[in-house]
């Protein structure tokens, strides 16, 4: 009983490990929509972006900037207006698995996680041009 309680207490700080939040509050428009309502758009380029984060102790303690595929897409947009056809996902690819399971000993010591964003960077077309 005491052993089980100790284990529960030991893992309590680790709840939320390897957490990833995709959110954005800036001035770019990021959408899964191919064309935002009431707006014409002109394709600038397609992009696929990837980011990786390192964590200590079973993913409990993240290092560096938090993973965020929406922010990643906004960064890809640069000076342009919006990202359309946005797809996001997160998880572990082969490299993350190697890092987490071999040198990090089954994620006990450390681990890494990834986020991906894919979409089209676009500019709004002025109303008179889009007509």
């Amino acid at each position: 009983m005491r052993k089980a309680l100790s284990l529960l207490l030991a893992i309590a700080p680790l709840a939320g490990c390897f957490s990833v939040t995709h959110a954005y509050s800036g001035d770019k428009l990021l959408t899964t929509d191919p064309t935002p309502p009431g707006r014409g758009v002109r394709l600038v380029r397609h992009f696929e972006a990837h980011d990786r984060q390192f964590y200590w102790l079973h993913g409990g303690f993240p290092v560096g900037e938090p993973l965020n595929a929406a922010a990643l897409a906004a960064r890809e947009a640069g000076d342009h207006d919006a990202v359309v056809n946005l797809e996001i996902h997160d998880g572990q690819n082969f490299t993350d698995l190697l890092i987490s399971h071999v040198p990090c000993v089954l994620t006990l010591i450390c681990g890494s996680w990834s986020a991906w964003a894919e979409g089209d960077v676009v500019d709004y077309v002025p109303a008179e041009v889009s007509k």
Binding site: F18, P34, E87, H89, D90, G91, F94, L97, H101, L106
Partner: protein, 131 residues
Amino acid sequence: MSPILSRIAVLGLCALAAGGCFSVSHKLPPHAYFGKLPKAPTETSTDFERSAMKNWLAAGLIPWSRFSSDDLLAESGSGVLRYENLQVRTEFNWIDTVAWIVPGQFYGYYVWAPRHITVTGEEIRSGTALP
């Protein structure tokens, strides 16, 4: 091959086999937005938060929960014009951590490991129709 090299090779093969672990593709409907659009006077918004547990077999390699983020949004029913201010979070919350770590390090992690997916945002619906 020396025993150390063969062990490293086996670990590498295991990691390769497990590549893609715990990966979550956030399939969102085409009218999903990170950030906000200008709201029409007839539109109303409602905050929402939905969460569900996604389960995997074989150390996160094989998902046996088939739902995706769009299934969580589909719970809104019909009449939603778009989803705004979206925030998509994937994490091992305390339930997942207990399921993953306590039995996991002894027998369970390779059999069953869950993660929680939470989607929050605003549902935009059309209010009173204009005459």
